[in-house]
Amino acid sequence: MARLPHDLEIAEENVHLGSRRKPGGGFIVQLGSKSYELEAGRLGTQGFWFRDTEGQRHRAFAAAQGEGMVVRLDGRTWAFKSAVHEQGAGAEEQDPSQVMAPMTGTLISVMVSTGDSVHEGQDLAVLSAMKMEHKLTATAAGTVSEVLCAETDTVDAGQILIRLEILEKGSDRDS
């Protein structure tokens, strides 16, 4: 089983999490600078319960997911990014100059070459996984500076496939 991260990115801040069993019973839980004393216990073989600071009892399951972790609390799922490995899942949506594979799969088409200029929303490549096709599109206008993949390649989730040189905002208005 994958190790759970101890530092999560929450509301754009890094929060350190800690917990330990108290000798006399109960648990000490640390959320950043705050510390709580809680009652908790195992729930079935895979989950646990705890009583929050208001006295409310919750059912929870947790697992590592990608670089971060995922918690299922009272029938709702919450995914957290790890603060330590921010480059993985976190960066892909923000940096339009790196086109990453959103999932593990096989490339069935690469539609651009180095030097091509692309507009926002233009299709760059088509990835196939689980028998479905997914298009990778440019999230900003620019020029293809590097193509790091080829058709029929099998690629991993998060792998950089194409690099773009992004046009400055506004400079594409006349083109």
Partner: protein, 512 residues
């Protein structure tokens, strides 16, 4: 106890459907043989079968789609019959023929029926012969792309491009305007070739708003056929069904009788054999159009099983062994009783356009309780490989009426957990709680007309979720895949309430 219909039956599939079929086989007193690709060596279907044979590498073409390897496995294991499940080779006429040519029993329709009904084009002609109206479309087998484009203009937009051989939305594209046609056509065709090895395409007018209602049929191959009511499968994403139920909230006895008659007429026209499904679009005037026929057991067959009490998998086997339709499905027992609702649990991310996910299923807490059935192909510690379908489990609930199913499903999903990669469970809960779904106001464009289900605001996590995240490591050490860390040093701690779990895990390690 009756004589087992066959000694050994091979299941040419994987995942939840292989597990479900294996159980049906074993309950009849037969032994079940699984086949698997190398990434599935530890899969649940391999573990639950009485014997298992490695086919080859993970890509379907080298394993689950390789007819020669499957026949060799049947021979090697001494199997007398083959059940194809759904997907993979289940609707491949060549496979059905090859199985029978090898002297084995194919637990499904004849190759001829597949060719006639499985191909959407021919199926429409047969439907017309049987007096069942179809949706306007175009089906020129040898036509080139330009001809398809011209026919698209004639039919008018929006229209659907579909793979003639296909099902499950593979190769299907919805096109709203002419300028998108060429690209959609090529992409759909490429997907069809990849999924079915056949790039024959058809066009179809997009009828909406409409409901997707399908009728379960069984034929005896000699011109006899019966129907077991309908399933409502209107809620779909990317043309794949998400939630299915039986009966439909809008099908009354009269409409059911008319739809069943149409489906039976179709089945009799081609002397259909074994289980099949006839799909219809139902419009707001309660007029229905033939959509396509699926010449196999459907993913959603359990809802029919639960409202009729018939085990469809066992019926497929017994029918092939010579039982009559009347023995299997006595005429006075075919009316549906109560209600059943199925939710498909998929490894996919609804917040990212249902992008398929894969990986280690670290936590797998299956729902349980009265009137809850779970058909699953994965358990805690299972790996969901990238090569196959994203369906990991089906949760099916049963009740006296629709409302009891809705609350039962809500509880079932709330109390379950599939963690390790994104799943659609929260999305399913949102759909079930949606007023339009609760009201039974279902359309095939349900998600398009209720976009709030797809574009969920990313709420900040409640503090309790953070507390849970922080507490998790204290409990994780004792959970599923632990074994690796030796905890023997702490096992002896008197008063440690968790030590029994650690012992337990040591046992699990040895057993896994």
């Amino acid at each position: 106890m009756r004589q087992p219909p066959f000694r050994r039956i091979l299941v040419a599939n994987r995942g939840e459907i292989a597990c479900r079929i294996i159980r049906g086989i074993q309950e009849l007193g037969c032994s079940a043989v699984a086949v698997y690709s190398d990434v599935d060596a530890e899969a649940l279907h391999v573990q639950s079968a009485d014997d298992a044979i490695l086919l080859g590498a993970a890509p379907p073409a080298e394993s689950y789609l390789d007819i020669d390897k499957i026949l060799a496995a049947a021979k090697e294991s001494g199997s007398e019959a083959i059940h194809p499940g759904y997907g993979f080779l289940s609707e491949n006429a060549e496979f059905s023929r090859a199985v029978e040519d090898a002297g084995l029993v194919f637990l499904g329709p004849t190759a001829k029926a597949m060719e006639e009904m499985g191909g959407k084009r021919r199926a429409k002609e047969i439907a017309a012969e049987a007096g069942v109206p179809g949706v306007p479309g175009f089906d020129g087998r040898d036509a080139d792309e330009a001809r398809f484009k011209a026919e698209a203009e004639r039919i008018g937009y929006p229209l659907l491009i579909k793979a003639s051989a296909g099902g499950g939305g593979r190769g299907m594209r919805l096109v709203h305007e002419a300028s998108d046609f060429a690209e959609a056509f090529r992409a759909g065709q490429r997907e069809a070739v990849g999924a079915f090895g056949d790039g024959t395409m058809i066009l179809e007018k997009y009828v909406h708003p409409s409901r997707h209602i399908e009728v379960q049929i069984f034929g005896d191959g000699e011109g006899g056929a019966i129907a077991l009511g309908e399933r409502e499968c209107s809620v779909q994403r990317r043309h794949q069904k998400v939630l299915e139920e039986s009966p439909s909230p809008v099908v009354d006895k009269d409409l059911r009788r008319r739809m069943e008659e149409a489906a039976i007429s179709l089945a009799k026209t081609i002397r259909y054999r074994n289980a099949g499904t006839v799909e219809f679009l139902l419009d707001e005037n309660q007029d229905f159009y033939f959509l396509e026929a699926n010449t196999r057991l459907q993913v959603e067959h359990p809802v029919t099983e639960l409202v009729t009490g018939f085990d469809l998998v066992q019926s497929q086997i017994l029918l092939a062994a010579g039982a009559s339709l009347e023995e299997l499905f006595p005429a006075d027992q075919r009316e549906p009783h109560g209600w059943a609702l199925e939710a498909r649990i998929c490894a996919e991310d609804p917040d990212r356009d249902f992008l398929p996910a894969s990986g280690l299923l670290e936590v797998c807490e299956l729902p349980q309780g009265p009137w809850i059935r779970v058909d699953t192909g994965f358990g805690p510690g299972s790996t969901v490989p990238v090569f196959y379908d994203s369906l990991i489990a089906k949760v099916i609930v049963q009740g006296k009426d629709r409302d009891s199913c809705l609350s039962r499903m809500e509880m079932a999903l709330e109390h379950s957990a599939w963690l390790g990669f994104p799943t659609n469970v929260d999305f399913l809960l949102d759909v079930i709680r949606h007023p339009a779904f609760r009201a039974g106001d279902l359309r095939t464009d349900f998600l398009e007309t209720h976009p709030e289900l797809l574009n969920r605001d990313s709420e900040p996590a409640p503090e309790a979720a953070l507390l849970a995240a922080a507490l998790a490591p204290c409990f994780q050490a004792c959970s599923t895949a632990v074994g690796k860390t030796s905890e023997s040093g702490t096992n002896g701690e008197a008063g440690d309430p968790y030590s029994p779990w650690k012992d337990h895990d040591g046992f699990r390690l040895a057993g896994s």
